[in-house]
Symmetry: C2
């Protein structure tokens, strides 16, 4: 059975990506990161998603959060609210975390070498995304080249492949694919700024993209939102 490391944040995209890898017959090693992100709820979501989709193992790796300073997702900076989808995709927002996917993928390669996995899956998306440079196809392609140059496995001819199956899909298409694969989207969490009781704000970029996706897919989002968002 082919082994794959799958980056799992606890959101819809990474849950769908894990389901795709499982459906393609990979034995999946799910990898999440604890960098004391403001939305720790996503790690609980990741645990539930990994279990529900039958990951062989789920590992939560700690990352020293001091390396990620300067982002609204890790620092005490206001998360932007009420932006339209076209505004969200127009530039790099304050929720950008410096070099995050580079750090995540480097860890994934390290773990992949240890568990003899030649495949890495991640749920980046370059259509309905937050304008992060490390979600673009050219970044992913260059990272694959790097992984093969910089590792024992690559040098010895066991090629690493980086899979980003959602990269050209809209949020609506991703949600439809998730439903086809029986992903329980009620387990997922996307909000950058959830209420104390865990309900999503419905107003941050991530909630806006999620809600847009459910509208496009023509289904209701099963998670709970705070009152004001429910009216949005």
């Amino acid at each position: 059975m082919k082994h794959a490391v799958v980056l799992l944040s606890g959101g819809i995209d990474s849950a769908t990506t894990l389901a795709i890898a499982v459906a393609q017959g990979y034995e999946c090693f799910a990898l999440s990161f604890d960098y004391e992100q403001r939305h720790q709820l996503e790690l609980e979501a990741a645990r539930r998603v990994a279990a529900s989709l039958g990951a062989a193992e789920h590992r939560v790796i700690k990352i020293d959060k001091r390396v990620f300073c300067g982002s609204a997702l890790t620092d005490d900076v206001d998360v932007p609210k009420h932006r339209l989808p076209e505004e969200i995709s127009a530039g790099i927002p304050v929720t950008y975390v410096p070099a995050r996917n580079m750090v995540f993928l480097a860890h994934a390669v390290a773990w992949a070498e240890s568990v003899d996995a030649g495949h890495i899956f991640l749920g980046v998306n370059a259509i309905d995304y937050s304008g992060y440079p490390d979600c673009r196809p050219e970044f992913i392609a260059t990272f694959e080249t790097l992984a093969n140059l910089g590792t024992k496995a690559g040098v010895e001819g066991r090629r690493f492949q980086i899979h980003a199956p959602l990269i050209k899909m809209t949020k609506g298409e991703i949600i439809r694919r998730a439903l086809e694969l029986h992903v329980d989207l009620a387990l997922t969490r996307s909000c950058y700024d959830p209420a104390a009781d865990g309900r999503a704000c419905g107003e941050c970029d991530s909630c806006q993209l999620r809600l847009k996706g459910f509208r496009e897919a023509g289904v209701a989002d099963p998670i709970e939102y705070v009152q004001s968002a429910a009216r949005t």
Copy 2:
């Protein structure tokens, strides 16, 4: 003043690289990693080297060691001893740590974005080296491309440059350069398997390359070795 992040392990190569960056007029942010490596002495050495060479800041970032399993430098695996320099460079040894420089450089880019540094220095060497794939020029060049594709700074046109000033130097040339720049090599540590009192074994690949370098440079190594190594 230009800012640079400099990877600093506490060995001769990274100390010399820091000295080169300082001599070139960079304000240097030295970065070391604590991944519970067997030779923790190198972190103490890094602290002393950073202070002696006038780094603006020295940060030690923790890395979850579980991501690096499967190496003699992190696991309970015997470090190879008594290998000749040509044997050391002939293949990838058990001291290879999966994707280590990829993980280190990704952290360096993240910190560089935070401190507005467009330059990253590292002391990799492709001549007298341990056969690690992530020390080769093509790996460094591809990482530079990746850093510019995957970051806000890169996208906005503030190019990252990755500097590996020692990459084509022999150990002897590196030691001579270090002495020209008044690096106190007595502060540095290289041994993969030091004795309990901190003295170097003189027998592991890293000690062998270090001793070869001092022989080539025609000077004595100022650090202490255990008795058996002194006879080598």
